[in-house]
């Protein structure tokens, strides 16, 4: 399964990664190799086989909606590159 530079650019955009031209070519080649190897799974007849997204038979876990102690605001923002007055700051969005 060979993928094109355009495919790489499209996926990089979806993943919010800015790639250099060198990176694009390397990823094009390497992703093609991995996807080529992955093609063997298409040989398997899986008609009627359900999907497994998780190894456990999960059900929703509920708890009572009671307030509990939480972290102080200044600790929560302590790892942010840019925070002010208890808020995270970012460049302009619109």
């Amino acid at each position: 399964m060979a993928i094109s530079i355009e495919d790489v650019e499209h996926v990089a955009k979806l993943a919010r990664l800015a790639l250099s031209d060198d990176e694009k070519e390397t990823f094009r080649r390497q992703l093609s190799d991995v996807l080529e190897h992955a093609r063997i799974i298409s040989e398997v007849d899986t008609s009627g086989v359900p999907l497994t997204s998780h190894p456990l038979p999960l059900v929703n876990v509920f708890r009572h909606d009671r307030s509990r102690p939480s972290l102080p605001q200044d600790e929560v923002t302590s790892n942010a590159a840019w925070a002010e007055d208890g808020a995270f700051k970012v460049p302009k969005i619109v």
């Binding site: 499209h10 390497q30 992955a38 456990l56 590159a81 460049p91």
Partner: protein, 487 residues
């Protein structure tokens, strides 16, 4: 020096008997770290002062006649993927350089409650993606058995630290073999528990349906002890199994006579190095001598495990790693950005290394419109088939066995240019994660002077039985877990 190669359970006993103090134990390991760390580089960060203070606190409690915890004063290394309050947690990534967690992972809380003393944070492949620890932003870890070789990965720092006598035991995480493969390559014991047995709260997520925290130890007794500390229900993890965990160490007997084991044909013939295969076959014979009935079993879907994994795990990773956007924590690209989108793009491009970008790209591709059914959905169906193959096997066998890794430790740089070849290192360990079952890697001897791992797999929640098989084998094999390092 001897304390550095003692079992953790022995160290706990010696401290209780006041043969030496918690401070003396911690100092012995800090001294060993100082001695060999320039060569091994198992740690990203050694938190010596935190360790000394904690060890002194344990000694004060012992002197006052208080209970210091079941493993009071025993040092431990923690993979840098687990959140440690006040101690930097990087995940081996530039993205989290300087990040200081504001809470402890549940497993960290539990090892603290047991009285252990954290020595520092162990090196790893960036965001646990890799099989050699060469993907760490902070540089590779070396294998104590041969410093020109990799320790395996992604928990390579944890495994190397234990093998080199820098820590008696360590915590790691395993998404596709990241505890078992480095344990095998470094000649120690490593276990991936049943999915949901150990809390993932405070574990930086890679692939949430596959990740589990587990022990890397010098012996099977230590493995049982450390698993006993960290296992059990946690309300902070919605995938945590709501059952108490048994006291594995207390119940460990090593009685295996009459058990039945299946040797997985698909994982113990083609593609396995001859020297590894020889040690593996010899260990199967040892198992038979111990009274375990062994026969070959074919699990055909396992041939597709690797391909399914390298679609499912990157798909989950691409979603999990979307949180690293330079806003709430972690790296943010320096300088002005035009708008928030440019800031995201630059931050993620500068903060993530090559392998992480590759997996995010692969996962995003597998999930994107037009390819979802052919790749991601088909991989999830293969996952169902692998679980069915295991289910059928458990009707006839108590355990399944195969080599842990298809090769012994390889040379640094040998596989870094070819991701697909690197991915093949995980071929024997991956089916376990896809099915959510427990498995353990036990050192079973040397090939060309390098350790070989023997993998024992069992049905969900069969940790006790797996540990018993490993314990029986360990006593019979008598592997010397001390690498021939100078000093």
């Amino acid at each position: 020096m001897e304390i550095n190669f003692q079992e953790a359970v022995e160290i706990a006993d010696q401290i209780k008997k006041k043969e030496y103090s918690a401070v003396e134990a911690t100092e012995a390991f800090l001294a060993r770290i100082e001695e060999v760390e320039p060569k091994v580089k198992a740690f990203i960060n050694v938190s010596a002062e935190v360790a000394r203070e904690r060890a002194a606190g344990i000694d004060t409690r012992i002197a006052a006649g208080e209970d210091p915890g079941r493993f009071g004063g025993v040092p431990i290394a923690i993979k840098d993927v687990l959140s440690t309050r006040g101690v930097p947690t990087t995940c081996g990534s530039r993205m989290l350089e300087g990040f200081i967690p504001v809470y402890d992972a549940t497993v960290v809380q539990r090892i603290n409650d047991a009285g252990t003393v954290m020595l520092g944070k162990a090196n790893m492949d960036e965001f646990a993606m890799g099989s050699s620890t060469e993907n760490s932003y902070f540089g590779p870890t070396r294998n104590p058995w041969d410093l020109e070789r990799v320790p395996g990965g992604s928990s390579g720092g944890s495994a190397a630290a234990v093998a080199a006598g820098e820590a008696p035991w360590a915590l790691g995480s395993d998404t596709g073999g990241s505890i078992r493969q480095p344990a095998a390559l470094c000649g120690i014991v490593g276990m991936k528990p049943t999915y949901g047995l150990v809390s993932r709260y405070g574990l930086v997520a890679f692939a949430s349906s596959l990740d589990q925290v587990g022990p890397l130890t010098r012996s099977v007794r230590d493995c049982a002890a450390l698993l006993g500390i960290i296992a059990g229900h946690d309300p902070c993890d919605s995938t945590s199994i709501p059952e108490p965990a048994p006291d594995y160490l207390a119940f460990l007997k090593g009685e295996v006579k009459g058990l039945k084991a299946g040797v997985v044909k698909e994982l113990s013939s083609e593609g396995i190095e001859p020297g590894v295969l020889e040690r593996f076959n010899a260990t199967v014979e040892t198992l038979e001598r111990l009274g375990v009935d062994c026969e070959e079993v074919s699990l055909p879907s396992f041939s597709y495990g690797l391909s399914a994994y390298y679609l499912i795990a990157p798909a989950e990773a691409s979603s999990n790693l979307a949180r690293f956007d330079g806003v709430r924590y972690g790296y943010r690209a320096a300088g002005e950005s035009e708008d928030v989108w440019e800031m995201y793009d630059r931050t993620r491009s500068e903060g993530f290394g090559g392998e992480v970008k590759r997996r995010i790209m692969l996962g995003t591709y597998a999930l994107s419109a037009g390819y979802y059914d052919a790749y991601y959905a088909q991989a999830q169906k293969i996952r169902t088939l692998i679980m069915r193959d295991y289910g059928r096997a458990w009707e006839s066998y108590d355990a399944l066995v195969c080599p842990t890794s298809p090769s012994v430790a390889f040379k640094l740089g040998e596989k870094t240019d070819d991701p697909l070849t690197m991915y093949l290192s995980d071929i024997c360990t991956i089916p376990v994660n896809l099915a959510g079952i427990p498995a353990l890697s036990l050192p079973c001897g040397l090939s060309e002077g390098l350790p070989v791992g023997f993998q024992i797999m069992g049905p969900p929640m069969s940790e006790m039985k797996i540990l018993d098989v490993a314990y029986a084998l360990e006593r019979e094999i008598g592997f010397d877990a001390r690498p021939p390092m100078e000093g």
